[in-house]
Amino acid sequence: MKDKTKRKLVPWLFLTPFLVLFIIFMAYPTIYSIVISFTNFRAGKFNFVGWANFKFVFNDATFLKAVGNTFILMLIQVPIQTFLCVVLANFLNIARLKLKGMFRMLSFTPVLIDAVSYSIVFSLFFSNDPASLANTALGLFGVQPVEWVNMVWPARILLVIAVTWRWTGYNSIIILGGLQNISHDLYEAAELDGAGPVKQFFAITIPSIKPVILFSVVLSVTGTLQLFTEPNLITSGGPVNSTLTIVQYLYNTGFKAFSYGVASAGAYVLAIMIAILTFIQMRVTKEKD
């Protein structure tokens, strides 16, 4: 009997280190954050204010603008990146491709550089200076120099380019993993049925890699909704808040203005948006099956 109780404790022995950390640094702050979102912090004390912080957030033009900006970036960036990833993954999967390993390796080197360094590099490549790399390249096509970070759309496009540069290779490797799991028999059977490469691509390849594409899209949607480093360092949220993202707003309210309640309320709004979007994406792909 005693031995039996002892055996029951064994899994908890393995779980304890993780669980202790999880409770202290994840479960507790997640719940604590709900409490904070219903309070305001004045002179070292939390006072209950009901839904005031949520009301404030939903009426704050800056927050609404940040939500709009973040969604604009997401709606442009994620489809472009996903398209590029599917193409790139299929090319990387070509059986007769030479130097396959090298191409795979090089295509995801962008995730090696830290977010701050790459943001600074991109802000230099796309600086307003007529001699910047981007403006020189445009000049080759007779395009006038662009003041990238002084204009709304160039600033947004610049962020889309930067994020796409960083994550396309990484997500292609994810999709490549799905491609490699497709059985060759499927293609052979299709070939016997007289299906050409294009038909094979849409009838076999795309349906087979739908789950990995979904995974990559969920990752990218969640990632763009949480954009911080790039807009903070490349565009500083400008011009006139037109690239200010949700997380920048949360950082500014929480750690520059120290409105803890508002920042927590905003963070929960973000969490709910992410949950809803993830749920929708999963439903959409499931229904089609």
């Binding site: 064994v10 899994p11 908890w12 393995f14 779980l15 280190p17 993780f18 950390l21 999880f22 640094f25 994840m26 479960a27 997640t30 954050s33 090319f91 990387l92 070509i94 007769r96 491709l97 191409f103 090089l106 995801f108 080197t109 962008p110 090696l112 550089i113 830290d114 977010a115 701050v116 360094s117 790459y118 600074i120 991109f122 490549f125 200076d129 001699a131 910047s132 790399l133 540069w165 396309t168 290779g169 990484y170 490797i173 490549l176 993993g177 799991n181 909704l225 949480q226 911080f228 360092l233 997380v247 949360l250 950082y251 750690f255 803890y260 927590s264 973000l270 969490a271 949950a275 993830t278």
Partner: protein, 280 residues
């Protein structure tokens, strides 16, 4: 007929090669550029042509960088945080993954469900409470403040669980019958067979922590405690006289260890990304 088919296929292959070469160049160019820029003056960096030649300003850049912050100390902070985090994540997550993979116990499925759900909660939700909590513990502005909250790496638990489920239970039983304690069985018999997946988890964790920006920015406020990315970002903050040569030298100091690390372990790196996607 056969020959013409071959040439046609050869022509089709040109498109992938062209695209792949472009992708490779575009991917690598900014990284190489960082190293070149580290040798140039601030003015030269704004001139596009310099990217293909080494400049002569590296000593001056180094002097300016050191004047701003003791970059070696910052590099040491970065290394300490990333290495301690990586080792602890591998240890803690493989233990938890083992419990989920090889034991049936009361509440296991509920617990697993709770962990799955919390994976969807964005980190931003916990920023304010963590800041208050860690201030209360007196840990704000110390390196553990960066490490501790990140240790709740649920992805790692899932990854280890997936891989440990494949470990034959018979082997565990026979080791237990031989009288070895569970912890000893785990660390001396099970874990050594998990080296490939541990390497993947280690590399992903290391790179992730190495480039971490938002939380360290909140948790650290003293330049001596900064990681390299924090110093680089601060060098461009409003009100600073920006010296991009010095910044790029700092950036290359942060980049070089990761590139070397990557060249040695690139197989595990790719494997890590794949395992996260296909199984997770």
């Amino acid at each position: 007929m056969n020959k013409s088919k071959k040439t046609a296929a050869g022509v089709y292959m040109v498109i992938p090669y062209i695209l792949l070469v472009i992708v490779a160049i575009v991917s690598v160019f900014p990284l190489l550029w960082v190293f070149f820029a580290a040798t140039h003056t601030n003015t030269q960096i704004y001139q596009t042509g310099m990217a293909f030649a080494l400049g002569g300003n590296i000593v001056e850049n180094y002097k300016n960088l050191m004047e701003f912050s003791n970059i070696w100390r910052n590099l040491a902070n970065s290394i300490f945080i990333a290495v301690v985090y990586t080792v602890l994540v591998c240890l803690i997550d493989s233990m938890a993954g083992f419990a989920f993979a090889k034991f049936t116990f009361k509440g296991r499925d509920t617990l697993f469900f709770v962990l799955t759900c919390s994976m969807f909660i964005p980190q931003q939700v916990t920023l304010v409470p963590l800041f208050i909590q860690l201030s209360g513990m007196g840990l704000i502005n110390t390196l553990p403040a960066v490490i501790l909250p990140s240790l709740t790496n649920i992805f790692g638990v899932f990854l280890m669980r997936q891989n440990l489920m494949a470990y034959p239970s018979d082997l565990l039983e026979s080791a237990r019958i031989d009288g070895a304690g569970d912890l000893r069985v785990f660390f001396t018999i099970v874990l050594p067979t998990m080296k490939p997946v541990l390497a993947s988890l280690a590399i992903l964790s290391f790179v992730q922590m190495w480039g971490n920006y938002l939380w360290p920015l909140i948790a650290l406020n003293d330049r001596d405690n900064f990681t390299v990315p924090l110093v680089l970002a601060l060098m461009r903050a409003p009100g600073q006289v920006v010296d991009n040569g010095a910044i790029m030298l700092g950036a290359s100091m942060a980049l070089l260890p990761v590139v070397v690390f990557f060249l040695f372990f690139q197989k595990n790196f790719i494997q890590g990304i794949l395992s996260g996607a296909v199984k997770g």
